[in-house]
Symmetry: D2
Amino acid sequence: MKASVIGATGYGGIELIRLLSNHPDFHLDSIYSSSKDKVPATEEYPHLLNICSLPLMKIDTEKITQEADVVFLAVPSGAAAKLAPQLLANDTKVVDLSGDLRLKNPENYKKWYKKEPATAEMLQQAVYGLTEWNRENIQQATLLSNPGCYPTATLLALAPALQAKVIDPSWIIIDAKSGVSGAGRGLSQMVHFAEMNDNFKIYKVNEHQHIPEIQQQLNLWDEETGPITFSTHLLPISRGIMSTIYAPLKKPMSAQQLQQIYEETYQHDHFVRVRPLGEFPGVKEVAGSNFCDIGIDIDERTNRVTIVAVIDNLMKGAAGQAIQNANLMFGFEETAGLKGFPMYP
Amino acid sequence: MKASVIGATGYGGIELIRLLSNHPDFHLDSIYSSSKDKVPATEEYPHLLNICSLPLMKIDTEKITQEADVVFLAVPSGAAAKLAPQLLANDTKVVDLSGDLRLKNPENYKKWYKKEPATAEMLQQAVYGLTEWNRENIQQATLLSNPGCYPTATLLALAPALQAKVIDPSWIIIDAKSGVSGAGRGLSQMVHFAEMNDNFKIYKVNEHQHIPEIQQQLNLWDEETGPITFSTHLLPISRGIMSTIYAPLKKPMSAQQLQQIYEETYQHDHFVRVRPLGEFPGVKEVAGSNFCDIGIDIDERTNRVTIVAVIDNLMKGAAGQAIQNANLMFGFEETAGLKGFPMYP
Amino acid sequence: MKASVIGATGYGGIELIRLLSNHPDFHLDSIYSSSKDKVPATEEYPHLLNICSLPLMKIDTEKITQEADVVFLAVPSGAAAKLAPQLLANDTKVVDLSGDLRLKNPENYKKWYKKEPATAEMLQQAVYGLTEWNRENIQQATLLSNPGCYPTATLLALAPALQAKVIDPSWIIIDAKSGVSGAGRGLSQMVHFAEMNDNFKIYKVNEHQHIPEIQQQLNLWDEETGPITFSTHLLPISRGIMSTIYAPLKKPMSAQQLQQIYEETYQHDHFVRVRPLGEFPGVKEVAGSNFCDIGIDIDERTNRVTIVAVIDNLMKGAAGQAIQNANLMFGFEETAGLKGFPMYP
Amino acid sequence: MKASVIGATGYGGIELIRLLSNHPDFHLDSIYSSSKDKVPATEEYPHLLNICSLPLMKIDTEKITQEADVVFLAVPSGAAAKLAPQLLANDTKVVDLSGDLRLKNPENYKKWYKKEPATAEMLQQAVYGLTEWNRENIQQATLLSNPGCYPTATLLALAPALQAKVIDPSWIIIDAKSGVSGAGRGLSQMVHFAEMNDNFKIYKVNEHQHIPEIQQQLNLWDEETGPITFSTHLLPISRGIMSTIYAPLKKPMSAQQLQQIYEETYQHDHFVRVRPLGEFPGVKEVAGSNFCDIGIDIDERTNRVTIVAVIDNLMKGAAGQAIQNANLMFGFEETAGLKGFPMYP
């Protein structure tokens, strides 16, 4: 199957190139960028010397759909909504990594993204690609909306507890931390090495666009879920997300019981690893891999749960999950092209 | 005034040496270590060449009390409780940076520290040195218990809101993150550079010994404060703590109103800086200084507050606050020896 | 083919596990450690959960040789010399990643390693595995001595210029820098995160055991090579080596001419990439891959060459090159199991 | 004495603000920027809250010279040459941190800086501020040209050996490494955190503008000095420079003898610390201080010296040395305002 990447110069794009170049079933056929035309990819990314000879091409949706079986859209939010309809024309399947198709309610999109939402048709057609929780729909999808990085870690962490009704969803606090690649490749004072090194910052307090994405899914799982609090911080590392989550128990239970719920829930999911009770994952332990690792605890002093999930934001939080979803959409093995171990140390 | 440092080879000790060596009123007279005797400090810390010619001496409490007007105890918890009574014998004042004298209830100490508590007499005599909130007692103290690094940031952040009764203290979630120097100078796999670099880890989940210290003070301020949830993470940086705090409002109020409470509360406190509304501090913005910077927000969607405080864990979280307290104990200017700016970048 | 790793808990060992677990032709069958017995690998390395179920076993050379077709020896120098003869007994092939079999002259080993050298028989049998320059011998080898990390980068960088007799080898200055994983997983003050972070250190000045290894090979290539100067520094990164090399030209030539020599020399070597003239590689551009990237310049002001080579010290500098060599020893494709791209960013 | 800083938003500027704000003899009176006017400094640098209430002002040289006794010029090369003559008009003394006044030969400046040189008058008037080697002239200076960061470390390291004629200056290789703040506060892909983190890069190979500055001074000390080779690399740290230097001995001598030369040379220089023989400095051991630490070795195998010098590039490599020079120009104690210890860890 021929695959194309649009938005190939961003970090999501370059990670897609890395994964697709060694994928057993997809063949990376062409790469596109809004800002380049016929420029060797190595000019933008010297590390691709001899291993990716594709040129960066100007986006031409008609040409793309004639040639590609699947297109990965790794463009900024706002741009994807415009490209998706054009790309769907010729039986090409589309995996969109932007935020444009995640919120079912266009008013919500307007409020949080401060941009024009996608059409109702697109929003309806788009299948939310939180793989472990939506496999059947994903297998049928032609337009896939890949979840955000923070929502992926957070939702995988909360799903078992929320669905088993063990937590009281009236308040849920999510304190999330991300590596700097999550902020994209664009330049700004905040991501200047000398200022981010040895630093740790909170940003977009109570205004992050992933809030409504998480809220939407939690309410689908448990409509009694109250408004969540979700905070995002920037870590002085290149990749990795940790989501630390706090919620009250509905009624007292032991950590062992909760652990069992988590282990059973994810026992058949290769990419979600529940850590043994008492052990919590560090972000480096999934770096470069598609794993989401989860650790849980119950504090008897407070009757609250602590749930910790880590992912590599460019993998399970973006390109990796996008490939995982594309594998399902094309009937390939779910783990195809995603068997790389975490790179440790 | 002659000052001595016991436990000079640890990170708290070395920071005390840095500060006392340039202090206008204290003179660093001698430094002690449990593991060295008559060893030049430069052998342990080459950066002290030509600027600290003191030898590391074996701890001899009788000699110390005969010579020193003030002793800074920067030894591990457990050791301080034993040294403090001996040091107090000869009119020497003691500033203890360990956790041994912070918990007024010895049972609490046993439970969280898993060591033998200090004597009731010591616990009663010890004055808790959260400077901004206990100045009068500190000025009279001969035995000062310097607060923990996490409690300092957390308590300074919560005090105005809690005391003004604007938050409902039935649940308070504190998600704290610290630089690696907070874990001490001892060796372990967790602090191996290759494993902590690019990493971010949660540790001692629901078991950190600073939980009862924070709880104790919050209950003094508002006895209705319920059991807090307090989590600690390790950041891949050398110094710095951020405490991100969540709590429900008692009744709706605007962020502007809360901001005003914070600004008024700390208007005369040099070392606590309330950031302008909408701005949040990064840990690097206080590195090397004794400042605690605070930013606040109220989320109208959830009716909850977000309070963020940052400190340098070796300064306001340890040696800096210890000097600040010693200044008060001896009637010096509170900021003496602590005027260094944050080192940025 | 069944493969075993001895010394699996070190960084070389864990990287071998990563590579062998996804190798198309080798099957990782068992892993051994001097310090563990029947301990799940996940106990030492939690990131292996669900993907490596092998237990760490006590070293039993007889059992190993009965079961394994190839053994990768990733133990410290000194230990390998003793294990190798026992392992070679039963037709098992051995790839030794230590320094024990690299120096042909045992006196040299004694002087630089300060340990007892391997037997003359072992030293004679061992084939030096600088793959690109010794393929024919490697294909016949049963005992392979894998080059050191610094020598790999340095020798690949110098080979074309030295062999083409364009540099005057009376003096060659090699200024090398390595990530901290190169110092191993053992604990020491130097690799404590808080002390190595934001730091950069020179170590083993004029005493590094890789000096005689580099010298030996250079003299084989050009017997007129004078004594080299080789320095090693520690970088505050997890992986990566840069070797910056300076030497005088024999007679004036243009950078273009030298560039052509380099490009022609390595045109058929997949893992050595000569960068376009004017471009120099950063260490991150090979991280996680088996590439050695090289950039060159000639300074007309000084008539000297500057040659820069970068590798991932755990890959081309250890486990990656070991696999590359094993591939040749067993007649597999040279790049088998080594097709992973650099992980960027 | 009233001091002004022009170019206050750059890293050199902000470090000057840090130092001057706690200087016993200078009073920081005003700060200027080419891009701001009447903007509070805290808007650019939030860490200055409550401790620097000065506004950033538009550069007005007439106003500045009427008010300031000394002006620190921390603007980019090219701009300083134009401002200096205007500032010198009213008896104001000028300390220029740019490269504009360092090269006595304007043709040299044109060639390496690719900009228009300063006037011959300015070049003649400017005193080169390598403090330890030019005190008498500095004391008389009204226009001081502060040395570059790399030249400071390199020249202090080479001076004793070169002047004692122990090295053969026909070839000297200088391999230098700098923290990212040395590249300035401007944005570029190279200083994007996600790309510089875990990276190490060589840049401006054989083209760095500090080459002629170092060469010029070395030739003043020993006119037989041949063309030097000088390379620069970027370290993934915020501050710090290491210069590793190699040169042949004129005739064999012991490391002890060379050590003695170094110790005697710098015995009265507070800010140059010669490490004990066998010990080499790491960059972190001078961070935040004005020290230049030096370690030396002689390799009997090669008859070459290795000299290592480290500085904090923003301190002894820029703002610190500028203050040190200004202290001399005004007859203050040379160490005034510069007594801060290295911040370790």
